[in-house]
Symmetry: C2
């Protein structure tokens, strides 16, 4: 009976590797030594004669592409990393082998080896150029809300006055060429009527920009909305969303991003820039066969592209690479690290040569502080960390609740109306307050600023700096200055701005326009930090005698830098929302360029993460991934439950039996019936239904395509034709119709675990090897199957979440 | 027959998870629906009654530690990552469960959660302090070769003159308190006799230090020699070398490192500092149960410690973390990234507060350049890259050949003599040349230096800077200066130093003293770079009219910075030897702190890596790992051959059959015989020899310990007692002696692959999951086993290397 069940087993003793591993002593040995009988009964296959001695993996056959479509994936499905990587190795092997034959092939192989670097160079150049264009356009359109340049409408405020001869150094932003809308319409620049006109024009432009943005997104590229990072994370983990990184998404996202940012909504362009860079990468991949044809290789490039995105967003190439590594990427080999770094650098330098900020600086917010921080200041920094953590946790919950509301109620049917409404509220509330009227990045720049003596902005209005104030001895111009009246007004306005930003951002993120939340989160944190910083500063000035200030903050000493507090606050809030750690600190480090301030940043980021994690494990991106039901296996979170593979596998304990194919006993009709009756994306192939010994695994898609192909192209195939998954033919007979041979689509090395395998190990295997499914056996018998979706559902269930929220496979 | 072979299969239908996954609808379903008969025959086990419904993984049982020694490893063996990680998860689960019961347990669980951070803090503090001590001691002892301070022999030259009142700013290193040996012995500081005395004392001290170093290493801690990075890489990949990171190694390595560096040998302290930091980490781990008991967790800490090592060596915390990630670590979860960064920062700041260099700088070589580089300069930078690559490849080959010679000939028997001889040659040749006499790091500092006007050193001797030279218009003091006569002498000396360093380093690295090669490699590169830089500079000065210089290097312009060339050269040579990429560039970036110079560094590092890789794939550390036969599965190198699991597995095609245990048919004597007859480190357990259906896997060590334990402690166990690996008892009978039940040591979820699995996938699985062995099946039958050693041997064979060079398992 044992012999019968394996009537056409592969004979591994006869198989010989192409690489000539056979060693003579092995081959010449007698086969009939004292080996237990069963140790070799599988070597007595029936069809030895008509089989080529070929033991190369079946994956190789896919390369031949005899049947088009085999080895590809459907939309909203997960790729099989192992298969993709094998495909790439095969391709590489073929090129290497060929390269030994001719000079042309050798040249081709060299070009192929360097194509990765070329691709990185192109991605860096293209993303850098695009980011520069976006910056310039957004700058111009933001100023358009305020007024227009008479020298040419295409100048923004700064350029307009820069080209003008009548500009003085002192008032760089005043020149006759630049006309505010009030000046153009009512002829004056101040007074109630001018204010009304400005207000009206501000709101109108904002509404127009927002309307254009949302309409363009809806009409041409629905995938262009949002920040894109949750989807990119999912795509990098192996999911397929066709068109998400396509050219239309790129074009529309670029345009609408400018519109959305200019409309004054509480959103940033940093997250979407990652999406833009990934689109560039994906489009450029199409010019390189190596990357076009292989989903795994393409994802390596996309990992690098996400580093490029952050690199151009903040001017922080190292931070970008670490962001990609820590936050976005799934499969990140070291080769990718080096290439990402290269691409990120190229992009940063391209951006700098475009010089959109007009200051030759690489970084978005350049800061330089002059005062070292004191050990005791760690207390307020940690307080900021706690604030950041609380705000992060609040933001995530509120935003997810809001998005869920939008999804489940009729609100979701009117995205244009929603955007217009939020824009209207934002514009109406933002205009009166100087700090909400300016763009998010401008605000952050101003808050990070270390007040110099010449600074004329409101938040730098210290009595000491202008008029010699009473009571206090001014040792140097910068130090120890009590706040002036304007500073108190500024603080009040900032407090209002804080409350406004905290709430409006919740409603903004997730609307149908491109929207990032790096800048809004940082703005919230920077305001809170600056408020605390100024508070600390004034406290120290008025209470030099307090014990805590003694020694380091004596009269006349320049001891507290409010700008540093703003920076720490920004890091804390960004950390609370995104749960970034190292990359966050490194990005911030690259802004200042000094190791000095890493410790405060780190303290705040750590506290913020701990606080936020205590209130909810997920960052905003993971929360959005879960909201959308994408099949994302989080690499950071450890699965700690005690369940076994048997608890998760299908069929469940008393459900219908597992649908399997047998190696040789089925007809075309039976297989087709099984395909119609079930929705599984793959079927195990066993020797016989009786023994349930596993032979291999076949994917539904490959099976359908092959059967259709056989019905159409292979002569004589009828419903009663046998389907053979074994390599050998059935006994010849003139009566039977020709068999359909499907050995080539059979995966002979499916991953298996036993029923006793703890789920923690199964999760690990899925994560590390990037599997789509795994077969479950017990004592060599096929018992069930676990798919990625099953794993995710199980994880959701164990975390007391709804397992049906996982929508895709 | 099918029923008989599985007479005591686990009944998975009855097993129920502890986490109450059972859903009522499943349980209430009728069992007798239309399910094919065999789909459930395994649910009719014989011993259902006397089995607890326990399906927790068997690994859990190891926690109980009923038999001491089970679950531990022997020296020079590889750990099982999966098992260790499972153990940790179990521990964590237990603590979490307990924490819900009492406040004390809750407190304990919180302490446990934060113990990782505490450990990191301690490692940072301890390593920083040790590094500071080493720096100070090495500085003092290096100066001791030159002279002694009369104020107190414990002052080094700088401190001696610093404390003296008679020191002027101009000649900071001249003061009456500091006496050179010549002054003390012959009374004069100059002239032939003084020179001879100095020479003699220099050589004598060098020999003394070297002798002490090698004797201490040999006497107390043989593992303290070398750089330690190859071994740490291997340990991090899961290998066990007892004592390699112990307290004796730490003490002796710290002392001898100071001695070796002070002896003037061509070696650095940067690599050994990584070893020192890892020793600290390993020792500190002993105070935390979580890390003491778990080999996988301990390795996470060691990964962080290697980041700490580089952080204190160069003052580059981010570079250190990336070094650990890129170069050293094997299993590096993101949590480790964040903690490493924390530890690296703590260490860097501890070191700075000790302030061993007396300049409050964090970095080893602080550089600041004033001139931007020009695009055309990329050509010399790439040339330096090529030089670095060539030198790297040459160094690796020569050093490995030398080490092999030492290993295989009688040279290896006289390590003390070898060290003394090399020291003698080094000292004799080094003393006459100013640039070889100074320590490696001093030399590099000087070469990186951008000559300022006040600089009086020889390599800054430009005519323009002192006397208004003819012909050339001096627009600013720094620019456009032709070389003075002293500079030419310096160049000649540097060229000699280059040749000397290139060869002596080959002989030095690998001797029985602590020796790093960061500094020697960087020194070689820095010399080459400086030479090229000065050459370029002079070329530009004398040929302003050449087309290439036109525009950016016109007369009077300060266009070429020789210091930058030195830095680029250093990066190129270090890259060629170690094949570091991102971490190298980031470490160098942290030295300068400006993104400006990343592009030259990157160009050189890339070229250097390409050139070196073309001449030999391995870096120096991998080469040494291979030389020592450690079982290290390189994560960077892809396995690209077409072999299958069947080509690698044991038993080979016609060798003796696989040694298996059966679930229940064997006696104690039979099992003991099998253990004695074979040397395998584990045995698969099958249901019957006939069916070869796999039940699980048992480790030799666990089996030996359990059987010994049973013989000693379990009553009535004799040679004919049955050994049971199944959970149920044999049918009761008064005649038979009691059975030895070994179900608890059986791993019920061994990893399996099929015979058809391509080796590239098997290698990937071994690498990513950290396996020790993997079972090979075909159609559900157990056919063979692949161990890590088999995989490594196979990889060696495919790469045309000697497979027997892999020594350990």
């Amino acid at each position: 009976m044992m012999d019968n069940e394996g009537f056409c087993n592969d004979n591994y003793h006869n198989s010989s590797s192409d690489d000539e591993l056979v060693d003579i002593s092995d081959v010449t040995m007698d086969f009939n030594e004292d080996v237990p009988p069963l140790d070799r009964d599988y070597s007595t296959g029936h069809c030895k004669a008509d089989r080529r001695l070929n033991n190369s993996p079946k994956l190789l056959d896919l390369l031949d592409d005899t049947v088009p479509g085999i080895g590809t994936y459907e939309d909203f499905n997960t790729i099989d990393w192992v298969r993709e990587k094998s495909k790439d190795r095969d391709r590489h092997r073929e090129i290497t082998n060929k390269s030994k034959q001719s000079t042309l092939a050798l040249l081709f192989s060299i070009i192929d080896a360097f194509s990765g670097w070329l691709l990185m160079l192109l991605i860096g150049l293209m993303s850098g150029a695009l980011a520069g264009g976006i910056d310039i356009a957004a700058h111009w359109m933001t100023d358009l809300k305020e007024g227009v340049c008479l020298n040419g409408f295409w100048f923004n405020h700064e350029d307009c006055c820069w080209t003008s001869n009548e500009t003085t150094f002192k008032e760089r932003d005043r020149c006759p060429q630049w006309k505010s809308w009030a000046e153009l319409m009512v002829g004056v620049n101040e007074g109630a009527s001018a204010y009304v006109v400005s207000y009206f024009m501000y709101v109108s432009w904002a509404l127009l920009f927002a309307f254009l943005a949302v309409t363009l997104v809806r009409a041409f590229a629905p995938y262009a909305c949002g920040s894109g990072i949750p989807e990119i994370k999912t795509i990098l983990s192996g999911f397929i969303i066709r068109g998400y990184l396509g050219k239309w998404t790129l074009i529309i996202k670029t345009i609408t991003l400018v519109l959305a940012v200019s409309s004054g909504l509480s959103l940033g362009k940093e997250g979407p820039l990652v999406h833009v860079a990934c689109c560039c990468a994906n489009i450029l991949c199409h010019f390189f066969t190596k990357y076009r044809r292989n989903e795994a290789k393409r994802r390596e490039v996309l990992s690098a592209a996400s580093a490029v995105g952050v690199s151009v967003a903040f001017g922080a190439p190292i931070g970008g690479v670490l962001f990609s590594l820590e936050e976005v990427s799934y499969y990140f080999p070291l080769k990718t690290l080096w290439r990402s770094f290269f691409a990120a650098l190229v992009a940063a330098f391209t951006l700098r040569s475009i010089n959109p900020f007009g200051n030759s600086r690489l970084v978005l917010f350049y800061v330089e502080f002059h005062t070292p921080w004191h050990f005791l200041e760690l207390i307020p920094f940690i307080l900021l960390g706690i604030f950041g953590g609380l705000w992060g946790a609040f933001f995530i919950r509120a935003n997810i609740a809001w998005c869920r509301l939008r999804k489940n109620t009729c609100l979701g049917h009117y995205p244009v109306l929603e955007v217009l409404l939020v824009t209207l509220i934002t514009a109406l509330l933002a205009f009166p307050n100087e700090y909400t009227r300016m763009s998010g990045s401008q605000l952050i720049s101003e808050l990070f600023n270390d007040c110099s003596l010449l600074d004329s902005s409101r938040i730098c209005d210290y009595s000491g700096s202008r008029t010699g104030s009473a009571n206090v001895t001014v040792t140097n111009g910068l130090a120890d200055r009590p706040a002036g009246p304007k500073l108190y007004t500024a603080m009040l306005l900032l407090a209002l701005a804080l409350i406004f930003k905290m709430f409006i951002t919740v409603a903004t993120f997730g609307m149908k326009v491109p929207s990032g939340l790096f800048i809004p989160s940082m703005a919230v944190g920077a305001i809170a930090g600056r408020l605390l910083g100024v508070g600390m500063e004034q406290l120290a000035i008025y209470h030099h005698d307090w014990n805590v200030f003694r020694g380091w903050c004596s009269p006349g000493a320049d001891c507290i830098t409010p700008g540093l507090y703003a920076m720490v606050g920004a890091a804390a809030c960004l950390g609370g929302v995104t749960r970034m750690t190292v990359s966050l600190v490194v990005i911030m480090f690259e802004l200042t360029g000094g190791l000095e301030y890493i410790v405060p940043l780190m303290a705040a980021a750590m506290t913020s993460k701990w606080v936020a994690d205590a209130l909810g494990r997920e960052g905003i991106y993971e929360a959005h991934i879960r909201l959308n039901g994408y099949p994302f296996l989080e690499a950071k979170e450890e699965f700690r439950h005690k369940t076994l593979a048997t608890d998760v596998m299908r069929p469940r304990r008393s459900g219908p039996p597992l649908s399997v194919l047998t190696q040789s006993g089925m007809t075309v009709e039976e297989v087709e019936r099984l395909i119609i009756d079930t929705t599984y994306s793959g079927f195990p192939v066993v020797i016989t239904n009786q023994s349930q010994r596993l032979v291999g695994f076949v994917l539904r898609r490959d099976l359908v395509i092959s059967l259709e192909n056989a019905r159409r192209h292979q002569e004589g195939v009828v419903s009663v034709s046998a389907v053979l998954f074994s390599e050998c033919d059935l006994p010849e007979s003139t009566n039977t119709p020709p068999a359909v041979k499907l050995h080539s689509i059979l995966d002979l090395s499916p991953f298996t675990v036993t029923v006793h395998t703890p789920m923690e190990i199964v999760v690990d295997i899925f994560r590390k090897l990037g599997l789509r499914q795994c077969l479950v056996t017990q004592n060599g018998r096929m018992l069930g199957i676990i798919t990625k979706k099953d794993v995710l559902k199980h994880m959701a269930q164990m975390a007391n979440r709804d397992p049906d929220s996982i929508l895709f496979n």
